[in-house]
């Protein structure tokens, strides 16, 4: 399986600069084309989709509302997960399917600390910053657990994270003694809704902050380079003095931190938590965002901005479908059709057919 999926990556690496350029253009082509199609569809079907208006929310603060704002707002968690997932995919050649469950754990830890064990609180019992830091720490520990299984025990990522996927929501329920605490403190909800006086939803700012953070990290540190080299060839990078296991572990820990922030936003939106339903199926969307961004799911080269764009496209699609009264339970069927179309279009075989002449020589090399 991995041999097959890695073939296009190898080809990409082997080829000259010109081909590489075309490939990168091709990489962002799909998410951009999907976005353009969605925008065009909405423009033709109902231009009022793009209307943004200034309204007053229930607390009397001016807030922006409209489908576009809702896309930007609701995509926040997905964008954060997609960023972490891209790194994990690139370094280990597999995906973490436990992110939804881990979000439940992080949210549960934060709610537990803020409520201090009570069922309903009007003022927070622990300082919010402390609670969020604790949530991030716990989430990073669970990320490290996944990372150790993947890097040191060499278990396929999807299956290693199956453990946390199975247990995560149960652990989240156990942290809060299976109670469903409610936080009524408005300050707690700032991160998920609006800060008074600022009409733009706070999750948008958090997302931008995290994106900038990753841009800086990729620009000024070797994180991106190391991750890619480990993903492309772990042995070669070991011979070059890197520690592939450590780097894989690091990417899982980073994903853990992203998951915690996403979990915080999610519980902050409502001030409560539902262990079995919070962030349900979000792991699938996050993986889809990575694939949509043109990243090879077999690891290696990655483009974090492609994933971010992919996440927004998915949320755009979701919002569009909701607008046309598609029930949320039927949504997966439509998404599945989109996924299949996308993966078929970007399938290696389709590319192979385009470069049919090079195929025979490549086969010969593989055999040799």
């Amino acid at each position: 399986m991995s041999a097959e999926t890695k073939t296009p990556v190898k080809k990409e690496r082997r080829s000259a600069g010109e081909v590489l350029k075309r490939m990168t253009r091709h990489q962002l082509f799909i998410p951009v084309a999907a976005l353009v199609l969605l925008v065009l569809f909405n423009l033709i079907a109902d231009p009022s989709f793009f209307a943004v208006s200034l309204k007053q929310n229930s607390l009397g603060n001016p807030v922006l509302s409209g489908n576009i704002i809702s896309v930007l707002d609701n995509a926040s968690e997905l964008v954060l997960l997609a960023i972490g997932m891209t790194l994990v995919t690139a370094s280990s050649g597999g995906q973490d399917i436990s992110v939804g469950a881990a979000m439940a754990i992080a949210g549960s830890v934060i709610i537990r600390l803020v409520c201090g064990g009570q069922v309903s609180v009007d003022t927070m019992q622990t300082s919010l910053i402390l609670a969020v830091l604790a949530g991030i720490l716990v989430s990073m520990i669970f990320g490290a657990f996944n990372g150790v299984l993947v890097a040191y025990f060499k278990i396929q990522p999807m299956v290693a994270t199956l453990i946390l996927f199975t247990a995560g929501r149960s652990i989240a329920a156990w942290i809060n003694n299976n109670q469903l605490p409610i936080v009524n403190d408005q300050v707690f909800k700032y991160a998920g809704t609006f800060i008074p006086g600022i009409p733009v939803p706070t999750p948008v700012f958090i997302t931008i902050f995290v994106i900038v953070l990753f841009w800086l990290a990729l620009r000024f540190t070797n994180l991106g380079l190391y991750t890619q080299s480990v993903g492309i060839n772990a042995n070669a990078s070991r011979l070059n003095g890197l520690d592939p296991k450590m780097i894989k572990l690091l990417t899982y820990v980073i994903l853990g931190a992203c998951v915690a922030v996403a979990g915080f936003i999610r519980v902050s939106r409502s001030g409560s938590i539902n262990y079995s339903r919070i962030a349900e199926n979000i792991e699938m969307d996050a993986i889809l965002a990575v694939a949509l961004g043109g990243n090879a799911l077999g690891g290696g080269k990655f483009n974090i901005y492609g994933s971010i764009l992919g996440a927004y496209v998915i949320q755009f699609l979701t919002t569009t479908l909701y607008k046309y009264n598609v029930p949320s339970t039927a949504l997966p069927a439509y998404k599945a059709v989109v996924i299949i179309l996308l993966v078929v279009l970007s399938a290696p075989v389709v590319r192979e057919k385009m470069s049919h002449i090079g195929k025979s020589s490549k086969r010969a090399k593989e055999v040799a």
Binding site: A3, I155, T166
Partner: protein
């Protein structure tokens, strides 16, 4: 496996090594299962001592056994299929709606169920084998599609009252010699299994034979062990992978029918999470995720172990729902680490 292969050339000796891994992992699974059950009988007593409670594990998991067989086959070829649980739900719903709202007959309903499974298998197999798309992504889309379609077919739970269906559902096959006397009235209560269990056991036996002694079964192992050497041995890798997915889809359809026979209704929640249970059962049963190693008998014991540990945990007083999930996860973790150690040992040997 036949002995003559062991004597042969280099490529085949490697094959023999991986088969001994299969046996080692199978032994671990079987020993763990019997140790667990013995522990339960001696220290927990209660319902564990009754044969019927063991048969109930089979009654409740007939569909999971069939799903896990399909999953193991796909995993042996090096793939994965996470759509089986959702396909189970879809099959239940289609059969229920057809029988109840369209007044259909039972045979056609069963054919519809198998057809739905087969269709998923064919489409997913084509995408995986012929277009070279990652099995995880393909079956992810399959799962989404099946989940969505289930609610499109019907949002409300459909309870089936069809006569011939109820007759089939209520067939109880008594197992001789395992009955018990009711302690209060002294009446003899025979131990029974549902009709689904017989079908599931038949599937286990057939798949065991197919994997062990047929050309197709051997090629599943060869493809999973090493794509390129399988290709060089003259095995049609694409066709083999395709067939593995088709078989898995068909078994998912059959699993759906068995699930439907057990619960007797169509519901959106049917089969939810069963893909993970099936993967867990395969892993516990000694199927390696990297492909090439696995055994249907192990998978069967995997399903039994999975459900025995769940019952042990709940009868030890940890009856909140979360404990069973956490134990199952811990068990997967344990077996994954055992596998990982076995693999590392094998790799060291090679060096």
């Amino acid at each position: 496996m036949p002995n003559d292969i062991a004597v042969d050339k280099q490529g085949r000796i490697k094959n023999r090594v991986s088969m001994s891994d299969t046996n080692l992992l199978l032994t671990i699974t079987v020993v763990v299962f019997f140790a667990m059950y013995a522990f339960a009988v001696f220290f927990l007593g209660g319902s564990f001592t009754k044969p019927q409670s063991f048969l109930n594990i089979l009654n409740n998991n007939a569909s999971l056994i069939v799903l896990s067989c399909g999953m193991s086959i796909v995993m042996i070829t090096g793939g994965i299929d996470i759509s089986v649980g959702a396909v189970t739900g879809l099959v239940c719903m289609c059969c229920a709606v057809y029988l109840e709202n369209h007044g259909g007959n039972l045979v056609v309903a069963i054919l519809i169920g198998l057809g739905v499974g087969l269709a998923f298998g064919i489409v997913q197999g084509f995408l995986v084998a012929h277009l070279g798309i990652q099995p995880f992504i393909v079956s992810l889309a399959g799962m989404f599609f099946a989940k969505g379609m289930t609610t499109i077919v019907s949002k409300e739970p459909v309870r089936v009252t069809n006569e011939s269906f109820m007759a089939l559902k209520n067939i109880r096959v008594t197992v001789p010699g395992l009955g018990a006397y009711n302690s209060k009235t002294g009446n003899y209560i025979p131990a029974y299994v549902e009709i689904g269990v017989l079908i599931a056991l038949a599937v286990v036996v057939i798949m065991f034979i197919v994997l062990r002694w047929t050309k197709l079964g051997r090629s599943f192992y060869a493809v999973g062990g090493n794509n390129q050497s399988a290709n060089m041995l003259g095995i049609n890798v694409r066709r083999t992978k395709f067939l593995a997915h088709v078989l898995c889809g068909l078994l998912a359809g059959l699993g759906g029918i068995l699930y439907f026979l057990h619960v007797g209704s169509g519901d959106v929640a049917n089969g939810a999470g069963d893909e993970m249970n099936a993967i867990a059962a395969s892993i516990i049963g000694g199927t390696l995720l990297t492909g090439g190693v696995g055994n249907i008998a192990g998978t069967f014991f995997g399903v039994l172990s999975l459900n025995t540990i769940k019952r042990i945990v709940s009868s030890m007083g940890f009856d909140e729902a979360w404990w069973s999930n956490i134990t199952v996860a811990a068990m997967i973790c344990l077996f994954l680490i055992i596998q990982s150690v076995v693999l590392m040992r094998k790799n060291k040997k090679k060096v």
